[in-house]
């Protein structure tokens, strides 16, 4: 009687011991921030958790500012950002006892697109600035047909909107008649139907979009026109890495301080060839290989 009781107890303890590692050893990592990165972030998390069942990673969007604010409040382990952390955010973080560490995790080439029927093949940064600020209003001012230019842009809350404003418009305001569209797909749809339309967005998205062409961009009048997509229809990583294609940005992840343990392992994996392969799959530009 006594022996059988011991056997039952022993079996239960063994069963418990077998279950505990999976049930309680999980390390929860929360990732919050940029909507630009959220799909890629979720894919990273999904693949990483498949390979590391002990890890539990939760990824949500909300915007770069929201992610960084959460980092400062201590409510997320990692903040995704499609822009660099601001000096004021750094000061706030420091006041709260955080020392954000920056990780460049991918690159993003922004494409300028026009209707496929538009004979224009290239624009300079100055011309793009002129078009989006409302100083250039007819395609014939940039070598095209005598037709008015219809400008399509993203909502002002979008990181892509801010990126173009900062990098190309030099922080000047968009033209008041810009048609605000709720996403890159909406811009693609509008430009494909509008022979006089111009739009922008992540380059990878437009590669296979019917009725839309990706324009080459010149840094200035003397520079060669560079297209973010190669002739074989794939993203031109070299153009982004070398900066010859001028409209690109880094995508970032921030931790509260120097990462350790599971968070470090996750970030190391994202920066590894395996993690960067996912960057390519999602349609962004992977980081250049370290020589």
């Amino acid at each position: 009687m006594k022996t059988s009781r011991m056997v039952v107890r022993g079996a239960l303890v063994l069963a418990l011991a077998a279950m505990i590692p999976t049930a309680f050893a999980a390390k929860n990592i929360t990732v919050k921030g940029s909507d630009t990165i959220v799909v890629m972030g979720q894919k990273w998390a999904e693949v990483y958790m498949q390979k590391h069942p002990e890890a539990a990673i939760q990824v949500t969007g909300g915007g770069s500012g929201v992610g960084i604010a959460a980092l400062i409040n201590g409510t997320t382990d990692i903040a995704n950002a499609s822009r660099k952390i601001k000096t004021s955010e750094m000061d706030k973080a420091k006041a709260a006892g955080y020392y954000p560490e920056e990780f460049k995790v991918a690159m993003d080439s922004l494409a300028i697109v026009a209707n496929a029927a538009n004979p224009i093949k290239e624009l300079s940064l100055k011309q793009i600035q002129g078009i989006y600020m409302g100083n250039i209003n007819n395609w014939n001012e940039v070598g095209g047909p005598n037709q008015p230019i219809l400008r399509y842009c993203r909502e002002s809350s979008s990181g892509t909107y801010t990126f173009l404003k900062e990098q190309v418009l030099k922080n000047k305001d968009y033209a008041a008649d810009c048609q605000t569209m709720p996403g890159t797909s909406a811009i693609a749809n509008a430009v494909s139907k509008d022979p006089n339309g111009i739009g922008y967005g992540g380059a990878a998205y437009y590669i296979k979009q019917p009725g839309v062409k990706i324009l080459s961009v010149k840094k200035d009048d003397k520079s060669p026109a560079i297209n973010p997509v190669k002739a074989d229809g794939t993203l031109d990583y070299e153009a982004a890495w070398s900066g010859t294609y001028p409209i690109w940005r880094y995508l970032y992840m921030y931790t509260g301080f120097k990462p350790k343990g599971e968070i470090k392992a996750y970030l190391d994996w994202i920066l590894s060839p395996e993690g960067q392969k996912i960057v390519e799959e999602i349609g962004y530009v992977p980081l250049p290989l370290k020589k």
Binding site: R5, A95, Q179, A186
Partner: protein, 514 residues
């Protein structure tokens, strides 16, 4: 999470089982029954999940059969930015244009304050007799409210108002009785038969942070920013000093320039530096023969942030060297608000007629703080030493018993802060000891709470103990205790402590930030 649902469930059940094992294992038969019941429940749940899975797959396969509501309303195409702005402008009367990038902020502090003073009374009795000042209790508030408008990433302007008392010292005959004569307090005492209280301009400034001044790669030797500010503004010299020199309510007037640089960045060290130059206006007088008083101030700081093994967060140190060179401040009643018939701001600096006893104020200050986080708790020890380099040939002070006040050129402070008040539930405690020689720093501008109920200033030493707790992210409860006694035994000075007068001051604050 990628765990099978039953893994979690089973784990939970086993944990429950373990928790109650003493009761559960009382009888083997009972135990076996329980295990069987668990098995049965798990089987039932497995069946339910399988059925639900099949149902979902069927629904997916027949996706086309889901009926849409007839006569659905077509989505309205998104309005253009121009149309949206026009509608917004129409509905706000055009206010949206100037409201853009306008940030409002402020705080309201309610304070209960109690004093217990011992020593000779400052009533002009000569020689002073042993009288004790009466204990005092008072309720005060501080209201600050303002906005900052960002015109571009390079330019912003700000404006704020704050409460503060009208002059109490000058009497009704003086024109200064209707003015604020305290540059280091925005408190308003409750009383005066509930009359309406004053509000003043606390800050009015413009700041320029040029993009062209950012030079170099941010990860290497680089200039990360230049800031030029003019007007009446938050004191930039607070960063590398304690309130032994600068009361946190003081808002200097004039201009300052600040430059930030990164000297080195490696995996384990981030070394930054900064420099500030300030040109502050103290007194501007149109009278012939009266010299304007100004302050030329300089501060250079070094801020290494480095990681050490075994600590999750880095060590963050700040070393600062400051020079405060006052021009004509000690002369011709430039230390009064309102000149010779105005209100003295000597606050412990010995006087001699129309001038202060110190020959001048050329103050050299060294400040050091270290922030580190053992077990995640913020700890900050800090220290400051200051010397008035121009005090040695000063003028003797006057008074009923004339003391030579050529000494007292040194001031120092040591302190420790534990915790930080940033969000709900945060706790912070601090201890600070201050020794402030009579001629060491300018009494008009240092901590006004370090003393009795109408002065702070110099020629004092003692302890300050503070404790704070964040009731919410925006509401803080603070308590403070000041135990202050005089350094010298001098007599009758304007707003100075008398003979052996000691102060015990207690404050209880509730502060709401918005």
């Amino acid at each position: 999470m990628r765990h099978h649902p039953f893994t979690k469930l089973a784990s939970l059940l086993v944990v429950c089982l373990m928790t109650f094992s003493s009761a559960a294992f009382a009888d083997e038969a009972q135990l076996m029954d329980m295990v069987k019941q668990m098995q049965q429940q798990m089987t039932e749940m497995q069946s339910t999940v399988t059925a639900q899975k099949a149902e979902i797959q069927a629904l997916k396969a027949n996706g086309g059969s889901i009926q849409k509501a007839p006569g659905g309303v077509e989505a309205t195409p998104p309005m253009s930015e121009a149309e949206f702005n026009q509608r917004l402008s129409d509905s706000t009367g055009g206010a949206n244009k100037w409201l853009k990038d306008l940030k409002f902020s402020g705080d309201l502090r309610m304070r209960y304050e109690a004093f217990h003073l011992t020593g000779n009374r400052n009533d002009g009795t000569t020689p002073p007799v042993n009288k004790y000042q009466p204990d005092r209790n008072r309720f005060r508030f501080r209201l600050r409210y303002g906005f900052e408008k960002t015109f571009s990433p390079e330019v912003k302007v700000g404006f704020s108002m704050a409460s503060g008392e009208k002059s109490a010292a000058a009497g009704s005959a003086s024109p200064y009785s209707v003015y604020n004569t305290d540059p280091i307090s925005t408190n308003q005492t409750l009383g005066q038969l509930s009359d309406f209280k004053s509000i003043w301009i606390e800050k009015a400034y413009a700041t320029y942070t040029p993009e062209w001044a950012k030079i170099g790669d941010s990860d290497r030797l680089s200039v990360s920013g230049l800031e030029i500010t003019g007007g009446k503004f938050t004191n930039p010299f607070e960063k590398g000093s304690t309130d032994m020199i600068w009361d946190r309510d003081l808002k200097p007037e004039g201009a300052y320039e600040k430059i930030d640089a990164r000297l080195l960045k490696t995996d384990s060290l981030d070394l930054k530096a900064y420099g500030i130059a300030g040109q502050f206006v103290l007194q501007e007088s149109g009278n012939v023969g009266t010299k304007d008083a100004n302050l030329w101030a300089y501060q250079a700081g070094l801020n290494p942030v480095f990681y050490v093994s075994g600590m999750e967060r880095p060590i963050d140190a700040l070393s600062a060297l400051s020079i405060y060179s006052y021009q004509n401040y000690t002369q011709l009643n430039n230390w009064d608000i309102g000149g010779s018939s105005g209100v003295s701001q000597a606050n412990g600096n010995p006087t001699n007629g129309a001038r202060l006893a110190a020959e001048n104020f050329n103050i050299l200050s060294l400040y050091q703080e270290i922030n580190f986080y053992p077990y995640g708790i913020p700890v900050k020890p800090f220290a400051e030493f200051a010397r008035n380099m121009s005090n040695r040939s000063g003028t003797p002070a006057t008074g009923p018993t004339t003391n030579s006040m050529q000494g007292g050129e040194d001031a120092w402070s040591l302190g420790l802060t534990l915790g930080k008040l940033t969000k709900k539930g945060d706790l912070q405690g601090s201890y600070q000891y201050k020794y402030i020689g009579a001629n060491s720093v300018v009494g008009a501008f240092n901590d006004s709470d370090f003393g009795g109920y109408n002065y702070g200033g110099t020629d004092k030493q003692g302890s300050v103990i503070k404790l704070g707790y964040n009731l919410t992210d925006y509401l803080t409860l603070n308590g403070a205790c000041y135990l202050v006694r005089p350094i010298t035994q001098r007599d009758l000075t304007t707003n100075g402590m008398q003979v052996d007068q000691s102060v015990r001051r207690f404050q209880l604050d509730m502060t709401y930030k918005f």
